[in-house]
C-alpha cells in the first residue's frame, strides 16, 4: 500500500469531499492563496474557486459564526482555526451556537460544521500555540470531538466528520503532520465513535489518542522486550466514545493506563478513568493510572517543554506502576 503523511491525508480528505459534494467549502485564515500555513489546501483555490476556498480576515469569532450560518442553510463548511489555541476567540460560536442549535430548536436546525484545529506541544511554539484543549470541547454537549493519530485515521475520520450532520471539532496534532503511514488509494471512511486497537496485548491496556498513540506504541515495544504485552486502544473519537472497545480490553487485561498530552487536571483521561471505575471496578487488578501533562502553561525552551507532557519513558513508567 502507498504511504503518505498525516497532513497529506487530511488534504486528500478535504479534496475528495469537495469533489464529492458541492456543498462542502473551506474557510479560514490563509486557506486560499497560501494554501494554509501547513500547506494542506495548496492548489485548492485554483481548482475550486474563491467562493469555495475562502481566505478570511483574522476574525475567528466572525468567520466561525459565518460558517455556522452557512451550515444552518445547508452547506458543509470546513473551518480551520490555525491553532486550537485560537478556539477561545470563537468559543461563543462553537459552544453557544453550533453545539446547541439542534437541541435548542428541538431538532429543527442542524449545523453540519467541521472545525479543524491543529494543536499540541513539542514544536517550541510556546504558550499560546501549543495547547491541547480536548477536554474543553468534550464538556460541551452537542459537539463531536475527534483526534486522530495516524494518516489512515485522519483521512477516514475527516471524511466522516464532513459528512456528519453535527458540528465536529477535529483536533489534529501538529507533530503528526509529517508522520508517514499507509493510506489506500481507494475510497474509505472511518466512522466516528469507533475505537481501534492499534496493538493487541494481554497484560495491560493503554488508552490513548492523538500523538500519544504513537508514544504508547513505542512504549509497548519497550515493554514487550521486558515481557509486558500492552494493548494500545486508540479511541480516535472522544465524543462519541467507544467505551465497549475499552471495556473489552480492560476485562481482558485487568489493568489500564490512560494517556494524554493535555494537562491532567480535568482532562478527558479523568472521564475515561471514572467510567472504567464505575463500570469495571470488579475487573480491575490495580487502580486506573493516568499519565498526562503537568498542570502548567506550555513553556518555550526545549529543556522545559519536553518535561511537561508525556513521552515514551513516562508511559513505560506508568505501565510498570500498574503491572507489578
Amino acid at each position: 500500500m502507498r504511504t503518505i503523511n498525516y497532513g497529506k491525508a487530511i488534504s486528500e480528505a478535504m479534496h475528495e469531499e469537495m469533489l464529492r459534494d458541492e456543498s462542502v467549502f473551506i474557510l479560514g485564515e490563509d486557506m486560499g492563496v497560501m494554501g494554509s500555513v501547513f500547506g494542506l489546501t495548496r492548489g485548492f483555490m485554483a481548482e475550486f474557486g474563491a467562493d469555495r476556498v475562502i481566505d478570511t480576515p483574522i476574525s475567528e469569532n466572525g468567520f466561525v459564526g459565518m460558517a455556522v450560518g452557512a451550515a444552518i442553510r445547508g452547506l458543509r463548511p470546513v473551518v480551520e482555526l490555525m491553532y486550537v489555541d485560537f478556539a477561545p476567540l470563537a468559543l461563543d460560536q462553537i459552544a453557544n451556537q453550533a453545539a446547541k442549535m439542534r437541541y435548542m430548536t428541538g431538532g429543527k436546525v442542524k449545523v453540519p460544521l467541521v472545525v479543524r484545529a491543529p494543536g499540541g506541544a513539542g514544536r517550541r511554539n510556546a504558550a499560546q500555540h501549543s495547547q491541547s484543549l480536548d477536554a474543553l470541547f468534550t464538556h460541551i454537549p452537542g459537539l463531536k470531538v475527534v483526534a486522530p493519530a495516524t494518516p489512515f485515521d485522519a483521512k477516514g475520520l475527516l471524511k466522516s466528520a464532513i459528512r456528519d450532520d453535527d458540528p465536529v471539532v477535529f483536533l489534529e496534532h501538529k507533530f503528526c503532520y509529517a508522520m508517514q503511514g499507509e493510506v489506500p488509494e481507494e475510497e474509505y471512511v472511518v466512522p466516528l465513535g469507533k475505537a481501534d486497537i492499534k496493538r493487541p496485548g494481554r497484560d495491560v491496556t493503554i488508552v490513548a489518542w492523538s500523538r500519544q498513540v504513537i508514544f504508547a506504541l513505542e512504549a509497548a515495544k519497550t515493554l514487550a522486550a521486558e515481557g509486558i504485552e500492552a494493548e494500545v486502544v486508540d479511541i480516535r473519537s472522544l465524543v462519541p466514545l467507544d467505551f465497549e472497545t475499552i471495556s473489552a480490553s480492560v476485562r481482558k487485561t485487568h489493568k489500564v493506563v490512560v494517556v494524554h498530552e493535555a494537562i491532567k487536571r480535568g482532562g478527558y483521561g479523568a472521564e475515561i478513568a471514572a467510567q472504567i471505575m464505575e463500570e469495571l471496578f470488579d475487573w480491575l487488578d490495580a487502580p486506573v493510572k493516568r499519565v498526562a501533562g503537568l498542570n502548567v502553561v506550555i513553556p518555550f525552551s526545549p529543556a522545559l517543554e519536553d518535561a511537561v507532557f508525556p513521552h515514551v519513558p513516562e508511559i513505560v513508567a506508568g505501565v510498570k506502576e500498574v503491572v507489578r
Partner: protein, 330 residues
C-alpha cells in the same frame, strides 16, 4: 409616504404590528400571573421595526433574530400558537419545549433563529448571506440586532466581512436606547449606530423606528441594493421598548417621564390614527380586524395551555443527529 396610499398594505402592516403587540402584551400578562417561566423580553413599542423590515423581504428570504425576537418571528410568518406553546414549555411548541422564548427557529419560513447571546446572530446572518452567494440562490438575509450588540466584536467582524465580500445581507439595528440598564450613549463612541457603516464603506441610514413606513422604505432600499449584488447596508431604526429589558425589570435606570414621552410616540397608535384620518379604513373595520387578532392570540394561549408537557425522556433527544444515544451516554 407613498406606500401609505395603498390601503390594503397599510392595513396589513397594522394587523401585523397589532398581532406582535397583542402577543407580547399577552406574554407579559401571563408572566406576571406566574404562568410563564424564565426570561421574557418583549418588543412592545418596537413593532414598526420588525414588521416594516420583514415586509421589505420575500417569503424565501431569511432573518436572524435576537433575544427580543417574538416580533421578528411573527412578522416573518411565525405561527403564534406554536410560539406561545414554546413560551409555555409545551411539547407542541416550535422547539418542543427545548428552546423557550429565545431560541425559536423555523427554516421553512426563513427564520434562522432567535439568539440568547447579544450579537451572536450577526455573523450567523452574514454566513447565511454567504450561503446564498455560494449557491447563487438570490436570497437576502435580514439581520436584526440591538444598539448594544453593535458594541460586540461579532458585529464588527461580521460587518467587515460582509462588506468586503459584498454579501446580500441587511443589518437592521433596533436602537431602543438601552443595553439592559445602560443608556447606549454612555458606552458608545458615536451618536448614531448608523455612523459605524462608514468604517466598513457601506451605506448607513437612520430610520424612524416608530414609523413603519420609514422602516419599510429604508430597509426596502437596502434589500434592493443587496439583491443587486452591491453588498450590505446598515439601517438604524430609532425606537424604544415600553417595558423593561425583561418582564419584572424594575427599570430604575430610566425615568417615568422618558417612558411616557416615548409612549406618546407609540407606533401602533400612530399608524392607527393615520389609517383612520386618511380614510383608509373605518373605525368598525379596524375594530373587527383587532378583534380577529385578539381571538387569534386567545386561541394561541388556549392551545398552549391545553397542550401536553414534553415527556422527561425527551430531555436526551436531539443533542445529536446521529449516534444520539451513544453520544449522550458517553
Amino acid at each position: 409616504m407613498a406606500l401609505a396610499h395603498d390601503n390594503k398594505a397599510a392595513l396589513d402592516l397594522y394587523q401585523d404590528m397589532y398581532r406582535v403587540r397583542q402577543f407580547d402584551s399577552m406574554a407579559s400578562k401571563l408572566f406576571a400571573e406566574g404562568k410563564l417561566a424564565g426570561n421574557i423580553h418583549t418588543c412592545i413599542g418596537q413593532e414598526a421595526v420588525c414588521v416594516g423590515a420583514c415586509r421589505a423581504v420575500a417569503a424565501s428570504d431569511f432573518i436572524a433574530s435576537t433575544h427580543r425576537g417574538h416580533g421578528h418571528c411573527l412578522a416573518k410568518g411565525g405561527d403564534a400558537r406554536l410560539m406561545m406553546a414554546e413560551l409555555f414549555g409545551k411539547a407542541t411548541g416550535y422547539c418542543h419545549g427545548k428552546g423557550g422564548s429565545m431560541h425559536i427557529a423555523d427554516l421553512d419560513l426563513g427564520i434562522l433563529g432567535a439568539n440568547g447571546i447579544v450579537g451572536a446572530g450577526i455573523p450567523i446572518a452574514a454566513g447565511s448571506a454567504l450561503a446564498s452567494r455560494i449557491r447563487k440562490t438570490g436570497e437576502v438575509t435580514l439581520c436584526f440586532f440591538g444598539d448594544a450588540a453593535s458594541n460586540q466584536g461579532s458585529f464588527h467582524e461580521a460587518v467587515n466581512m460582509a462588506a468586503a465580500w459584498k454579501l446580500p445581507v441587511v443589518f437592521v439595528c433596533e436602537n431602543n436606547l438601552y443595553g439592559v440598564s445602560v443608556e447606549i450613549h454612555r458606552v458608545t463612541s458615536v451618536p448614531d449606530i448608523a455612523e459605524r457603516a462608514k468604517a466598513y464603506g457601506i451605506p448607513g441610514t437612520v430610520a424612524d423606528g416608530n414609523d413603519v413606513f420609514s422602516v419599510l422604505a429604508a430597509v426596502t432600499e437596502a434589500v434592493e441594493r443587496a439583491r443587486r449584488g452591491d453588498g450590505p447596508s446598515l439601517v438604524e431604526c430609532k425606537t424604544y421598548r415600553h417595558h423593561g429589558h425583561y418582564e419584572g425589570d424594575p427599570q430604575a435606570y430610566r425615568s417615568r417621564d422618558e417612558v411616557e414621552k416615548w409612549k406618546r410616540r407609540d407606533p401602533i397608535v400612530r399608524l392607527r390614527a393615520e389609517i383612520l384620518s386618511g380614510g383608509m379604513a373605518g373605525a368598525d373595520e379596524m375594530a373587527a380586524l383587532e378583534a380577529a387578532v385578539d381571538r387569534e392570540i386567545e386561541a394561541a394561549v388556549t392551545f398552549a395551555a391545553e397542550s401536553p408537557w414534553p415527556s422527561a425522556s425527551e430531555a436526551t433527544t436531539c443533542v445529536y443527529a446521529t449516534d444520539n444515544d451513544r453520544s449522550v451516554a458517553r
